[in-house]
Symmetry: C2
Subunit: 335 residues, 2 copies
């Protein structure tokens, strides 16, 4: 399928909010300390996809549509949308900064990872600072359904990260455990962002759960596609160093699938070989030829189909259409 | 003054709670992940002074005495005391783990700092995990006065840390800025722990503020004494590497005071000299002879006197006595 989808089009119904997020992120992270300001500037010199803020706004849009409140102004809730959208991105940034330290990743969004630019010590602190600002914002603008959801999700992200490092270089890791890790590390927070938007407007529990399931399936598909692109993408577009998970001993779905296939011995040999430089290209070829990359892509597609089905309980709206388009985009993107 | 004060005696009125804290810390941080369990075990292989849990219990005791509720059982509040005491120590541990990475400190409580034992990457994650567990506990067991206090304090600690790294190697740093940094980094959290205990039992705002001022002054004195011991203490008792602040370019009160005296040129020469090994002992001697160490100790004593005066509004009780003794102990300790 050839698609002309781009994020600008997909985000159009929530453009008013989205356009204010980058400035609000800077404002929330404003500090008189020069060194921290430099780190904020460096990290946000590229905005990334701003997927989490978009999900907050889209969840809010869906929820307002349900209650026919789309055209009613409600200042407190609208302010909450903006601040929680910014907080979601800042919280995400905090986890990326620490993740990049933990995984020794050199690149982020096509520029040096923060620990490369400013040193690991300062980057640890920047992650803590971002995390602190996000939590304060969530407590200021969240409600008694959003705050517990957020805390639970923050805990899950942390658990997923711990499980990931404990499974590093485990050639016997099962697909089930791997999927559980990415559910916790990535999918849970995308679900949380979407639900947060909806919960601002008091969506009923059953519908909030449907959005949660959309978010989780969407997140699984998103992460699996990311891991697929880590082998098949182009570095210049992807904004990360290809194969960096591999170098850190983090085995993603294509590798895990291939390890459970007739190619196991070959893959083990490649993973244990000493020549780091050649290893990646040989593995890439093996994953390609064995069908493991196709397998991962099909798995992502399966999750995305499940995600889309969750949207059927919602009446048609520009927000629902955007979520459906976002699902297609997430699978078809090359960056 | 020769004192026979020791922490066991001082903590006696809150011993029932204190004895349960180490196990509750382990329980709160329990995880099936072996690598994380090893880090928890390593970090808590030495318990430290458990000052923050003690302050939670003492604050609670003072508050119960005021309301004549000391002998009334109130299960929910008593459970909250225990969990918030454990959370205060876990939160403190999280900041120490990241601080030690940020400051490249090799020792903590007489054993290897966690980033030395398990690597910086795993230690970043352990700090995040401890932080997450502490916050979840605070939100579960805190109330609507404790939670905002805690969030504000967490923000202050982070700000203090940022200011500290931005002032590294600044030979023109003023005493005023330095005191502001230690107020944020150390004193604010000690005040928060004490107030948290009192707020569990619904202490009136004016009294809570008096405890806050005690905690801040106590914390200032405590940190200044720590920085004094960093020059005059014995490494085997102190549990940290002497002079490590200096090596990291963090100038504490004795150095700042000496830089503002007639000895400035000499101190600058010492700070800029290349021989790291000799530098510490020469500086130590200079600080000693110039009276800068005595100045710091007198400053600590001044804060401790201010702290004690704040307790005068409270009726005599074993808890108030313990706080007074803790103030004496903090000044007179050698570790």
């Amino acid at each position: 399928m050839i698609t002309t989808l781009n994020l600008e089009t997909i985000y159009a119904p929530v453009q008013a909010g989205m356009s204010r997020v980058p400035a609000l992120i800077r404002e929330t992270l404003d500090t008189p300390i020069l060194k921290m300001r430099e780190m904020v500037d460096h990290f946000f010199s590229k905005n990334g996809k701003l997927l989490r803020p978009a999900l907050v706004f889209l969840g809010a849009g869906i929820s307002r549509t349900l209650k026919n409140e789309h055209r009613i102004s409600h200042e407190r809730n609208e302010t909450a949308e903006l601040h929680l959208a910014a907080a979601a991105e800042i919280f995400h940034a905090a986890t990326l900064i620490h993740d990049d330290i933990i995984d020794s990743a050199p690149l982020r969004r096509g520029v040096s990872a923060l620990h490369i630019k400013s040193g690991s010590q300062a980057a640890v602190l920047a992650g803590d600072y971002f995390h602190d600002r996000a939590i304060v914002t969530i407590f200021r603008h969240g409600n008694d359904r959003i705050i517990p959801l957020f805390l639970r999700t923050a805990g899950e992200i942390c658990e997923g990260e711990i499980q990931e490092i404990s499974e590093k270089k485990n050639i016997n890791m099962t697909e089930k455990i791997h999927l559980e890790i990415i559910r916790k590390k990535t999918a849970s927070f995308l679900a949380c962002a979407l639900q947060t938007g909806a919960l601002i407007w008091g969506i009923e529990p059953g519908k909030a759960e449907a959005l949660g399931r959309f978010g989780e399936c969407f997140g699984m598909a998103f992460q699996i596609t990311d891991d697929y692109l880590d082998f098949s993408g182009e570095e210049s577009k992807f904004g990360k160093t290809l194969g960096s998970d591999l170098e850190e001993g983090v085995y993603t779905l294509p590798v895990i699938h291939c390890l459970a296939s007739g190619e196991r011995d070959k893959v083990v040999r490649i993973l244990y070989s000493r020549s780091h430089k050649r290893r990646f290209s040989i593995l890439r070829e093996t994953l390609e030829k064995s069908g493991a990359l196709d397998y991962a892509l099909a798995k992502a597609k399966g999750y995305m189909d499940m995600a889309k089905r969750e949207l059927e309980v919602f009446p048609p709206s520009v927000f629902r259409t955007s979520l459906e388009q976002l699902a297609d985009y997430a699978l078809e993107r090359n960056c």
